[in-house]
């Protein structure tokens, strides 16, 4: 499992691996919003939690189809399926690699983008924690979507349509935690719900994704 994780991380950081694309996309979304909404600080501060979460979600979506599609094309997926490593484990590791290369940089960079959007300082810790808790669920749900659509030509759009509705609970509770933080209230309740969603997703989705992969490999 470590070997697979290291390989995926290495592939992501080499030429053509797409590392940092999600981060750049996130940056552009956060820069575009003030142009569209206007530079008025009060408006921006009010919508910042939602914009930051939606931006992170879309940035995450951007690289999802790479999780399995590349391994499918070059035949590695067949070989992984016959390897001693259970397919569920492989799914979990690949989702983890996706989170480390896409989700984690978003979490770490989010406070900077929060400043861009006039997010109140009180909300910054909530933003960091809620993204840190929520983005693993985004990667794992995405791995499920990628497993369902693997092998389809132009499956990326279909995958987005399948995955985005599944992101809704994470988005609701993640953005709510930040919004409460910005209002100076206690955001612990939505944060607990968010953690619950992430844990449930991590517990069930590897099995669902591995089952989908097995059907698609036939």
């Amino acid at each position: 499992m470590i070997a697979l994780l290291m390989r995926d991380l290495r592939l992501a950081t080499r030429a053509g691996g797409g590392f940092g694309l999600g981060l750049a996309f996130f940056l552009i979304v956060c820069t575009l919003v003030p142009f569209g909404v206007g530079p008025e600080g009060g408006t921006l501060a009010r919508i910042a939690p939602g914009i930051l979460w939606v931006g992170a979600l879309l940035a995450c979506l951007l690289s999802l189809d790479r999780i399995f599609a590349l391994d499918w094309e070059d035949g590695s997926l067949d070989l992984l399926a016959t390897a001693p490593l259970p397919l569920e484990g492989a799914v979990l590791v690949k989702a983890a690699a996706h989170w480390i290369t896409t989700g984690l940089p978003l979490v770490l960079a989010a406070p900077v983008f929060g400043v861009l959007l006039h997010l109140p300082a009180a909300a910054q810790p909530w933003l960091l924690v809620s993204l840190g808790v929520g983005t693993p669920a985004l990667s794992m749900l995405g791995a499920f979507g990628a497993a369902i659509t693997v092998g389809l030509r132009r499956g990326g759009l279909l995958m987005s349509l399948l995955v985005l509705p599944l992101y809704v609970p994470t988005l609701i509770f993640g953005a709510e935690a930040v919004r409460r933080g910005a209002a100076g209230a206690d955001g612990a309740t939505p944060l607990v719900f968010l953690s619950g969603i992430t844990l449930a997703v991590l517990a069930t989705m590897p099995f669902a994704a591995a089952a989908a992969l097995r059907v698609n490999l036939r």
Binding site: A3, R7, L11, E73, G75, D78, L79, L85, L217, R218
Partner: protein, 215 residues
């Protein structure tokens, strides 16, 4: 000792039976070559034996951790070097290190080269070298000699012979004569699933269940 035992096997591709009534045994040190025209189901049979898809009928008896499968695609990452590709599969399968495999398929000089820079034949050789680092006894090979030149085919035949000599087994579909006199040949031609027109058994037989419909 029988490593791999196939009994009355029927395989389907896209929900339609392609070959049926297949049976053979493969012991340590034995090789079996599948022959037959395109579309007869050689690849489907090999994927079924490798456990990538379920049989429609019949049984495949083998230790699932004994089989190393090599299909049409080599499973190489073009951004990684030759040695890194092999080292990865060696770690995943817990097999021996890449050194001997590199030497056996004459890839030593290329070991630091990114896989993207290899020719088609060199990629194929790297794909076959992967079999050696899996450390698994039963090789299931689908057209292993595609894009290999004469010298490389001889190299590959020597690798197969060494594998058999070391107590391994090999099941392969190939059109090339590998000069393996000890290998048995199974012609799939007579096993083509009955498709005698619209009333033939191959056409009218409805899938037995949900799983089979997607097999």
């Amino acid at each position: 000792m029988t490593r791999l035992s196939v009994r009355d096997l029927a395989v389907a591709r896209g929900g339609r039976r392609v070959a049926e009534g297949i049976g053979f045994d493969l012991d340590a040190g034995q090789a079996l070559i599948l022959r037959g025209p395109n579309g007869i189901g050689k690849t489907t049979l090999l994927r079924t034996v490798a456990g990538l898809q379920p049989p429609v009928q019949g049984t495949v008896t083998a230790d699932p951790d004994a089989i190393a499968y090599a299909g049409h695609a080599d499973g190489l990452k073009s951004a990684l070097t030759v040695a890194e590709n092999l080292a990865f599969w060696s770690q995943v399968f817990g097999g021996p290190g890449p050194g001997a495999a590199l030497a056996a398929l004459d890839l030593g000089r290329l070991s630091d080269r990114p896989a993207a820079m290899l020719s088609a034949g060199q990629k194929r050789r790297l794909g076959l070298a992967r079999l050696l680092v899996t450390g698994r006894p039963v090789w299931v090979l689908d057209e292993p000699t595609v894009s290999l030149d004469t010298a490389s085919v001889a190299l590959f035949a020597a690798v197969i012979r060494a594998h058999l000599g070391g107590g391994g087994s090999a099941l392969m579909a190939t059109h090339i004569d590998l000069a393996l006199p000890e290998a048995r040949v199974l012609d799939l031609g007579p096993h083509r699933a009955g498709d005698g027109g619209p009333t033939g058994p191959g056409r009218t037989r409805a899938p037995a269940g949900f799983d089979e419909a997607f097999a």
